[in-house]
Amino acid sequence: MDCTAESVADAMRAVAAVVVEHRDELIRLDREIGDGDHGENMARGFTALVSKLDGNVPSSPGGVLRLAATTLISTVGGAAGPLYGTAFLRAATSVGDVASMDGAVVAAALRAALEGVVARGKAELGDKTMVDALTPAVAAAESVAATGGGVAEVLEAAAEAAELGADSTVPLVARKGRASYLGERSAGHLDPGARSTSLLLRTFAGRAR
């Protein structure tokens, strides 16, 4: 498939729909070990992105990613706003102004996104955050890209790894973010940010097929 600005914008619209659909689930997850706003925050941010995209799609995939970054930063708030915002910003920078992305570009963008999240939030693998979903996703994406995989294969691998990574947060004791205040009581719950990361990647993968 062609991974142009239009198709990235379409993927963002699809993500918005998925986030709205999973809003209550993300709220419930965040209520259990956080403050119950993650679903609302993400829904607000991606809904705002959809209206910005309406009839005004940037000319390159990188432009769409940059618009996602600034929109999420200025509408999401909370921890997720700056973290996802930075992720998309770094991804946009990594993509540059290519007109269409291939598997290697996507894998590099994912790597840049992860580095942005870690730079901002200082979380390590196992701290029970979105990093636990994104880290294996990047690794999987890179290994598929290294063997010449296309965008669809790269994103499929990333989505699959992110799902496993998100699930791996369940037994963990949180050491970053609001859930960390709970100490041992945070174990036994899925991290909402890891869940939203895996939803995003799954949706991107679905659109790439």
Binding site: I27, R31, E40, S74, G77, K176, Y181
Partner: protein
């Protein structure tokens, strides 16, 4: 969920409209992005004091905007930190040429969003400093957590540094004073009931009829420990002892005691608790020189309370007593 609201998505803006009407003499409210600004801002040559955070803690922070306290407050969605553009707009609106001090409560979201805003403002050439308050002794092992949360001490910090800024203390001085307050203030809270975030529609947690959350934060996040409810004689030392032992506060210390309602606890219970706290401090030889009793940093309708203790010196006492004219705190004018 029973609330006096319309659409959960517009609660903050709808409340800001009422606040603007109720305090038109003190406040100037902007909506895009949402910022509550002191009516006479910018005040030339005065350090601009800016704070903000999720909504749902009223009167914090908007109720503390005005002469002798904050220049602007940035209200996020309920329990969600504000976005960088709100903070950046607040800096632009209040910058009187003496720089801006951002007062940030230590939560990942608040820290990250204010950090981004500080970068934006610095790029605009404003001298911006940030202090992060983390007075909640309930959070242990800060190496393995996001660190201690900013809670009740924030109110005292905003009042004291607000008075200094009003007197013309410069940005270095305000920043140093803020750090001194942060180093000398400690808090802890408990919840008897949970609260319900409007967009969530369901309580943040459920407590049995004989349970309370000890070491609760101000965001409806569960506390550190769920324990049986006791009488006030048990609850008050459960908050006070960890606070006193943390700094530690000791015999001969002069303190400000702030007895705060989480929102749903009525004044009659709060005064009752305050009386016990004063007695316990007297027994330890600690002198309560100033006090604040009321709902000043809340968690929506949550029933519960927090105690905050600030070690005072002469300068802080004088700044505490200095005139303040905001919707929620007013004296000397």
């Amino acid at each position: 969920m029973k609330k006096i609201i319309n659409d959960p998505a517009t609660v903050v803006v709808d409340a800001l409209r009422g606040m603007a009407l109720a305090h038109a003499d003190l406040l100037d409210v902007q909506y895009e992005p949402a910022v509550v600004v002191r009516a006479d801002a910018p005040v030339p040559r005065k350090v601009a004091l800016i704070s903000g955070g999720g909504s749902g803690h009223e009167p914090l922070h908007g109720g503390f905007v005005g002469r002798g306290m904050l220049d602007a407050a940035c209200p996020g969605a309920v329990f969600t930190s504000p976005t960088p553009d709100q903070v950046a707009a607040a800096v632009t609106r209040t910058d009187g040429g003496a720089g801006a001090l951002l007062i940030v409560k230590n939560y990942t979201g608040d820290v990250l969003n204010f950090e981004t805003a500080a970068e934006l403002a610095a790029a605009d050439g404003v001298d911006v400093r940030t202090v992060v308050i983390d007075d909640d002794v309930a959070v242990k092992d800060s190496l393995y957590t996001a660190g201690r949360r900013g809670v009740g001490g924030t109110v005292l910090l905003e009042k004291i540094v607000g008075a200094a800024a009003e007197r013309g203390v410069d940005l270095d001085g305000c920043e140093a004073l803020a750090r001194r307050v942060i180093s000398q203030v400690r808090s802890m809270g408990l919840a008897l009931t949970a609260c319900t975030v409007p967009h969530a529609g369901e309580p943040s947690f459920t407590l049995a009829d004989d349970e309370m959350e000890l070491g609760i934060g101000i965001h409806g996040e569960p506390g550190r420990q769920r324990v049986p409810v006791g009488s006030a004689e048990v609850l008050v030392p459960a908050l006070l002892d960890p606070i006193v032992e943390d700094l530690p506060f000791g015999e001969g210390d002069r303190v400000l005691l702030f007895t705060n309602s989480m929102g749903g606890t009525p004044l009659i219970e709060l005064y009752l608790a305050h009386g016990i706290a004063e007695r316990l401090l007297a027994e330890r030889g600690i002198t309560v020189e100033r006090r604040l009793v009321g709902p000043y940093i809340t968690s929506l309708e949550m029933q519960g309370m927090s105690l905050t203790l600030l070690k005072l010196d002469d300068e802080m006492v004088e700044l505490w007593d200095a005139p303040v004219h905001t919707p929620a705190l007013r004296w000397g004018v």
